[in-house]
């Protein structure tokens, strides 16, 4: 009798969720969280009930979740697997419930077998033990909006607990991140590591702003053979011996690197491949490696891996190139210090003159505390002043951003405060010459505003996914 009721509730949840999705569509809304919320209300253990109907791949970590997920989609397609995936804005329990139910028939049978789920780090703690994913990819851990997540180590422990509740999951971890790699210590889960080879990308080690300079086991200061960025690198604890694990998927050479692409060599368990990534930035090399690791687990042939990695271009907002009134406008989302620093380093690879705009909001989705702007190394922009004549700032926190630039060494008369995204775009267009690229760096909600404005005032066609 009890079993009947449980089945009944599941069935009811599926039907009502589907009706809600349908209803929202009729009224022209694509809500992803409300249907799942209702489903969880009707059938609280819905995840446990659905887990064995899918082959689940979960992607979590601070930066690169979305890009990595999109690369994995390419791998799944190449492997001939039909799959569903959630949108990046739907990475909490409710959004994931909506996604999974949308892949069921009315009688609860899965229409597709594979589910790729980008998952919020805090939500991962309770979701992974229920969903029992076959593969878990953890990209990295950086400070991200601490007002929402609490401390970095709390976030790490959320993911750790999630993994402990799913001991069969095969893990794909970032070897260069001492926090992420620690998830592979003392665990029965099978682990594959990815990372950059020693001294492949030598850079000065900026300890003053590192998120994790001290050993997670014994709290001694790590020594670094080499580092790539932030706290990522070949670390070793001189006291307890915890060190960067051997990476099975390793970038062994960066052959070319500019503001459009990078050509890299990857050592896979089966041999070396050379790949030209159409996405620039060191952080995207890490995302590509994580994607390659999934391809390897799916038993893709090397040429297929290369095909997917080379064919990949950026999706929603991470970085995209738009043409506005004859100008090239590159829109790059910024959301935390490490990501922002990577974007700035990418700007440094720009060879010609350019115009730069920032749009900083402090709404909930951006992070209400904008102090993190002071953890970003805007100081390097002062080396670009020959190429950048003017800096434009807008958004709710335009003035904060202006002050930040001033203290980074940009002269005040090169900083212009704009009121609203439309004025910002107009000014950027006006300030740029024909061959100059416009870089526009918004936080999340500022990006939504800019897109709206581009659509309305600049006649840009549908740029949503």
């Amino acid at each position: 009798m009890k079993e009947f009721f449980i089945k009944f509730r599941l069935g009811l949840a599926i039907i009502i969720t589907k009706l809600t999705v349908f209803g929202l569509r009729i009224v022209g809304r694509g809500g992803t969280s409300l249907p799942g919320k209702i489903a969880l209300r009707i059938c609280p253990d819905i995840f446990n009930r659905l887990s064995d109907r899918f082959r689940i791949i979960m992607v979590t970590g601070t930066n690169g979740k979305t890009t990595t997920s999109r690369i994995i989609e390419g791998m799944l397609q190449k492997a001939g697997l039909e799959y569903i995936s959630n949108k990046s804005g739907a990475n909490l329990a409710s959004g994931i419930a909506t996604t999974l139910i949308s892949a069921l028939s009315l009688t609860g049978k899965p229409i597709v077998r594979t589910a790729l789920l980008e998952t919020d780090e805090a939500a991962f703690r309770t979701l992974a033990p229920k969903l029992k994913p076959e593969i878990v990819i953890v990209t990295n851990f950086f400070r991200d909006q601490l007002d929402r997540f609490g401390e970095l180590y709390t976030t790490l422990n959320s993911v750790r607990e999630g993994i402990q509740g799913s001991p069969e999951s095969r893990l794909i971890l970032n070897a260069d991140d001492s926090l992420c790699a620690s998830l592979g210590q003392d665990t029965s889960n099978p682990v594959i590591y990815f990372g950059l080879g020693d001294k492949v990308y030598p850079e000065d080690y900026l300890i003053a702003n590192a998120d994790a300079a001290f050993c997670i086991n014994c709290k001694s200061r790590y020594e670094y053979l080499s580092s790539s960025f932030a706290h990522l690198g070949h670390f070793k604890c001189p006291n307890c011996g915890y060190e960067r694990p051997t990476a099975q998927i390793e970038c062994t050479q960066v052959l070319e690197y500019d503001n459009l692409s990078s050509t890299i060599e990857i050592q896979m368990p089966g041999g070396k491949i050379a790949v030209k990534l159409a996405i620039p930035g060191l952080y995207n090399i890490y995302n590509a490696l994580a994607g390659a690791a999934v391809g390897h687990m799916l038993d893709l042939k090397e040429e297929d891996l290369v095909y997917v990695l080379e064919g990949f271009e950026c999706g929603f907002g991470r970085m995209e190139t738009l043409s506005v009134n004859g100008r090239e406008l590159k829109l790059i989302l910024v959301k935390n210090p490490t990501g922002f620093n990577q974007v700035l380093k990418y700007l440094m690879t720009q060879k010609d003159k350019c115009v730069i705009g920032f749009a900083i909001n402090d709404k909930l989705a951006d992070g209400t505390d904008i102090s993190w702007l002071w953890d970003v190394d805007f100081e390097i922009l002062s080396f670009m002043q020959e190429k950048v004549r003017r800096f434009f700032v807008s958004g709710i926190r335009a003035e904060d951003m202006a002050v930040r630039l001033k203290y980074a060494g940009i002269p005040s008369d090169h900083i212009f405060i704009m009121h609203g995204e439309t004025e910002l775009v107009y000014s950027l267009l006006e300030a740029s010459n024909e061959n100059e690229t416009i870089y526009l760096l918004p936080t999340y909600t500022a990006m939504l505003d800019i897109r709206k404005s581009l659509k309305k005032r600049f006649n840009l066609k549908e740029i949503w996914e």
Partner: protein, 248 residues
């Protein structure tokens, strides 16, 4: 030429929420006036002699990092920090640094963790985090003959209480302040200033930044005549826009 030495304590451990912006502000505002400002990073294993510095800064860290420095403080730095405070050195403690300068931190399980004891304040763990934008009014700073209002962002679970001899830094206009109960924010003892307002406190509140610089210069050069004014157009715009948003 005037010269100030700034001691940045544990920059690799206590550097939450853009704390280094405060160091940048002190340094830049000195440079713009041709005052030499040297920043010295003092961390685990380094020797600290308080006489060598004119301004001290200590920020907040995560629990993991806070525990790392406990042993190091016992290794001689604790006495130097207390001496610096007593000697009237300019000291800025923010968030975790504020708590650390106090006497103890009482956890939710009732355990008292001993802190530096440099100023007579103490902190009790609270059950909710006090998060959000904060505005508080500071008596000793003036702006067009009005009391200066400092704007910042607070994010703390600890509730801090002031004991005898310690004055609050300001009166809360918006936000929670030290404990969300008595309407006060921060602490002042001699030339030590503490607050929960983290991150870009000094860049956005240039009057407070200049007050600290001036006190340090007066300490070191008793005949110091006063700071030359700077063009603070952008700083004031940031300050005013937030003030408007949060208090009107």
């Amino acid at each position: 030429m005037y010269e100030l030495n700034i001691c940045y304590l544990y920059p690799d451990l206590l550097n939450l929420y853009g704390d280094r912006g405060n160091i940048t502000a002190l340094q830049r505002r000195c440079q713009w006036r041709n005052i030499e400002a040297n920043v010295h990073h003092i961390s685990i294993g380094d020797t600290l002699k308080y006489e060598d510095y004119d301004i001290f800064f200590i920020g907040g860290g995560q629990d993991f990092e806070q525990t790392i420095i406990q042993d190091d403080l016992r290794d001689g730095k604790r006495e130097e920090i207390i001496e610096a405070v007593q000697a009237g050195k300019v000291f800025l403690g923010i968030c975790g640094g504020f708590q650390l300068l106090g006497k103890y931190y009482k956890t939710s399980s009732g355990k008292e963790i001993e802190c530096l004891g440099a100023i007579n304040v103490w902190t009790h763990a609270g059950d909710t985090r006090l998060i959000g934008n904060i505005v508080f009014e500071v008596d000793f700073l003036k702006n067009n003959n009005q009391k200066y209002r400092v704007v910042g962002f607070e994010n703390h679970a600890g509730k801090t209480y002031l004991g005898e001899g310690v004055k609050p830094l300001g009166k809360v206009i918006k936000g929670f302040g030290n404990n969300g109960e008595d309407g006060f924010e921060g602490a002042v003892y001699k030339n030590t200033f503490c607050t929960y307002s983290h991150g870009s406190l000094l860049p956005k509140n240039p009057a407070l930044a200049d007050h600290l610089i001036m006190l340090a210069l007066l300490n070191k050069y008793p005949d110091f005549q006063g700071l030359t004014p700077l063009d603070d157009t952008l700083e004031n715009l940031a300050h005013e826009s937030l003030m408007k948003r949060f208090t009107e």
